[in-house]
């Protein structure tokens, strides 16, 4: 019985939260990696673009709520996502037309494009803060828990409860659907194949008649889908605050590079690697060992490898180590 309790404990405090956080990171990381693979620059505006899409979705959520529209036990924000994507895509295409296109046509070095993306980051941040303000926004509605800890205890008769928030399930399910559609698109459809070809070798792709304008436009549209969905899922699970979104850019970058930048499947797995290592290394295992070990061996301390303050530092350290020993990422293989 103690073993089951210990497993439920790990499931509740490590596995489910890490899976959720990992999914959120994975979507962002695929966004980074797509831009890097096809448009060939590190997009420092990632976090702020995500917050822009989320902001639009929040406005639509509020609008639907004021109309009395709802999905019952699901959050209303799910119907707002397509509208968020629409505006996000429009914003990205405008930015691309006025900013990035010039450098792309001039074949500027990637560093210059990265610098330009810092300019875009500043502008987007200003736009978001001017429109919605810098404060914390919650836009979640519907049923909060799928299983409450107390209910779980009653049903199973165990000491440990397992609480699953509905946002966690939504995040994981939406991520799986989104990512499988994306991989199907990239691997099976003609457009997806042309994108991969463009990413592999631009000149050869142009030679075989692939329209670069179309590839760029579709990339931005997919980016808009990923950015908005990822942002909304994160906002539903935690809360929406422009500053947090900007900060999230860092673990997202870490996930993308750990997985091998330019490789969407690597980025997807990288998100989970980062999330699990962050949570595994900063969790206090005291209770777990109390269940598993006999009484006379019970630990005194918290059995915590690192204090939770160093959560971010963990992912960054992993990234630095990966960069030093395997700059191409831990999941090698074909890119895009």
């Amino acid at each position: 019985m103690d073993i089951v309790n210990a497993l439920i404990l790990l499931l509740n405090y490590i596995f489910v939260p890490a899976l959720t956080y990992g999914s959120q990171l994975a979507i962002g990381a695929i966004f980074v990696t797509l831009i890097y693979g096809i448009l060939r620059f590190a997009n420092f505006a990632t976090g702020d673009m995500m917050s822009f899409g989320t902001m639009v979705a929040i406005f639509f959520t509020w609008y639907f709520q004021s109309l009395g529209l709802s999905l019952g036990f699901l959050p209303t924000a799910l119907i707002a996502i397509p509208f968020g994507i629409l505006f996000m895509g429009l914003y990205m295409l405008i930015i691309d037309k006025f900013v990035f296109k010039y450098y792309r046509l001039n074949k500027s070095p990637p560093v210059q494009l990265a610098m330009v993306s810092i300019g875009v980051m500043f502008v987007t941040q200003a736009v978001v803060r001017i429109i919605i303000g810098p404060s914390d926004r919650r836009f979640f509605d519907g049923e909060k828990f799928l299983i409450r800890a107390s209910e779980f205890k009653d049903i199973t008769g165990l000491n440990e409860g397992l609480a699953i928030k509905s946002t966690q399930v939504i995040t994981i399910v939406v991520t799986i659907i989104l990512v499988s559609i994306l991989f199907w698109f990239l691997n099976k459809t003609k457009t997806g194949k042309s994108m991969r070809a463009y990413s592999d070798n631009e000149d050869l792709a142009l030679l075989s008649g692939i329209d670069p304008k179309k590839v760029v436009m579709i990339t931005w549209m997919i980016a808009a889908i990923l950015a908005t969905t990822g942002g909304v899922l994160y906002g539903l699970d935690k809360s929406f605050k422009p500053f947090t979104y900007f900060n999230n850019m860092l673990p997202i970058f870490a996930a993308a590079i750990v997985g091998g930048i330019g490789n969407p499947f690597g980025a997807f797995l990288g998100g989970y690697v980062i999330a699990f290592s962050e949570i595994l290394l900063t969790y206090a295992y005291k209770k777990f060992f109390m269940y598993v070990l006999p009484e006379n061996l019970e630990p005194d301390g918290l059995i915590q490898l690192l204090s939770t303050d160093y959560k971010f530092a963990v992912s960054f350290s992993i990234l630095v180590i990966v960069l030093l020993y395997r700059p191409s990422g831990i999941f090698k293989g074909k890119t895009l």
């Binding site: 330009v116 810092i118 200003a126 350290s317 630095v320 960069l323």
Partner: protein, 456 residues
């Protein structure tokens, strides 16, 4: 003279703007903008050495700034005797252990051939070392943090004058840069950018959470000052006389003695804070001028030419027998050390160390905007960039407010749009920075004062 006309014109306009702020807002604001402009100029000079001279991209400026600030704390704060008694031994022991681990790892690296076993051995040494250090240091850290946590709760510093920290800050930052450079400089440009950005975040995380060393988010306040205190100044005779002489024209107009006295007091209070700021300006100006002379000399020296050769064509420079790796490391350390000086200067002028205030936007990306806008590769450009961008960063809110009032003049004061816009005026600075950076990068990619190398 004529060649430098644009430099002189740009700097005169900048000084004119600051003087205008002095006349229209107040001299206090003008001087605090000027001081921070000088500090920003030091930071941009550091970043410019790396980016402009050598083409190395360093997004870790925030980390080096914070290390400089940490140096200011460790040098100037008086040592906390009790804390040293409580846990000093454990901390020193852990320090020795760290040195020991590094030596053992080096030994293993030198002595044995490259193999899988060696990698595992090194990993095992490091991991077991960390576990031992945790056991050794944990009681010490706890004891130190328990010593009067409301006021100290950390080891304190050396109790030296804070000016020394400017040099020590440079060494701290340079040391970190050496470690980072050793491991990360081989990376491609954009990877290096991301790696340095994340390493600087790690540095901040450590400074924030190692309370025994830095007091963490509890902040260190009331640091020593290289300049006199306002309160003391207001009671010294020579200063009062000076203020009286300075304002004699206005004071002579007042005939009533009591009124004259109170007016004088007002002038003394205002004057004292201006005087203190002027002291700082003087100190900072000395640093900027020394650095400017050194960097200019370096730029036109054979070494500077070599750096440009490396930047423009690494392979060719390598083929000419220049040690690219070594020079990159050197310039990375030098540039970061200069940023460290700026970090110490910043904490000195604020008189407090707040680890929570180090954000990448303000301390990394803004500095990069300064370098790009000013003109990379040109020291005068970099300094000008620091001035222009910091000036706009501060004055963006008043300008934004003016623009909002202008564009919404037709609306009533209570109109929700107008209220909302006025509330969000502080964020116009981001917009201004972003658009400024984008315009400069598009239409004047070499900055306001572009790099100009003339062969003498």
């Amino acid at each position: 003279m004529r060649k430098n006309l644009n430099v002189i014109a740009a700097y005169s306009i900048m000084m004119g703007l600051i003087i205008l702020v002095g006349i229209f807002q107040s001299w206090n604001i003008a001087l605090s903008i000027f001081n921070l402009c000088l500090i920003s100029a030091v930071m941009t000079m550091g970043a410019n050495i790396q980016w402009g001279y050598a083409g190395l991209i360093n997004f870790g400026i925030m980390g080096f700034t914070a290390l400089g600030g940490l140096a200011a704390v460790l040098i100037s704060v008086n040592p906390v005797q009790e804390a040293w008694n409580a846990g000093g031994i454990n901390i020193l022991l852990s320090l020795f252990l760290i040195v020991g681990i590094v030596l053992v790892v080096r030994f293993v690296l030198k002595k044995y051939q490259k193999s899988k076993i060696r990698n595992y051995a090194i990993a095992a040494i490091i991991i077991s070392g960390i576990i031992i250090i945790r056991f050794v240091s944990a009681p010490g850290i706890e004891a130190i943090e328990e010593v009067n946590p409301a006021r100290t709760g950390f080891l304190g510093g050396l109790g030296l004058p804070i000016i020394f920290s400017w040099i020590v800050g440079a060494f701290f930052a340079g040391g970190l840069a050496f470690v980072i450079g050793k491991v990360a400089l081989g990376l491609r440009a954009d990877y290096l950018a991301i790696a340095t950005l994340l390493i600087s975040e790690i540095v901040i995380a450590i400074i924030k959470h190692e309370d025994w060393l830095t007091r963490g988010v509890k902040n260190v306040i009331g640091l020593k000052r290289p300049a006199p205190y306002e309160v003391n100044l207001q009671q010294t005779d020579w200063f009062i006389n000076l203020v009286e002489k300075f304002n004699s024209g206005k004071l002579d107009l007042i005939s009533d003695i009591i009124e004259r006295q109170s007016a004088l007091n007002q002038f003394v209070i205002e004057g004292s804070s201006i005087f203190v700021k002027l002291c700082y300006s003087g100190l900072f100006l000395v640093v900027v001028i020394i650095l400017l002379i050194l960097t200019q000399k370096a730029l036109y020296s054979p070494w500077g030419r070599m750096m440009r050769a490396i930047r423009d064509n690494e392979e060719a420079a390598n083929a000419m027998g220049k040690n690219v790796v070594k020079q990159h490391l050197l310039i990375f350390v030098l540039g970061s050390a200069i940023v460290g000086i700026a970090g110490a200067m910043l904490v000195t002028q604020d008189g407090l160390f707040t680890p929570g205030s180090y954000r990448p936007l303000r301390y990394t990306f803004l500095i990069w905007v300064m370098v790009i806008v000013g003109g990379s590769g040109n020291n005068f450009g970099a300094i000008l960039g620091g001035f222009v961008v910091w000036f706009l960063w501060i004055e963006a809110a008043p300008i934004g407010l003016y623009l909002v009032n202008l564009t919404t003049a037709g609306l009533e004061d209570t109109h929700y749009l107008k209220v909302h816009l006025i509330e969000s005026v502080p964020y116009f600075r981001f917009l201004m920075m972003g658009i400024g950076l984008l315009l400069i990068m598009r239409y004047r990619p070499k900055g306001i004062l572009p790099e100009k190398i003339e062969i003498k």
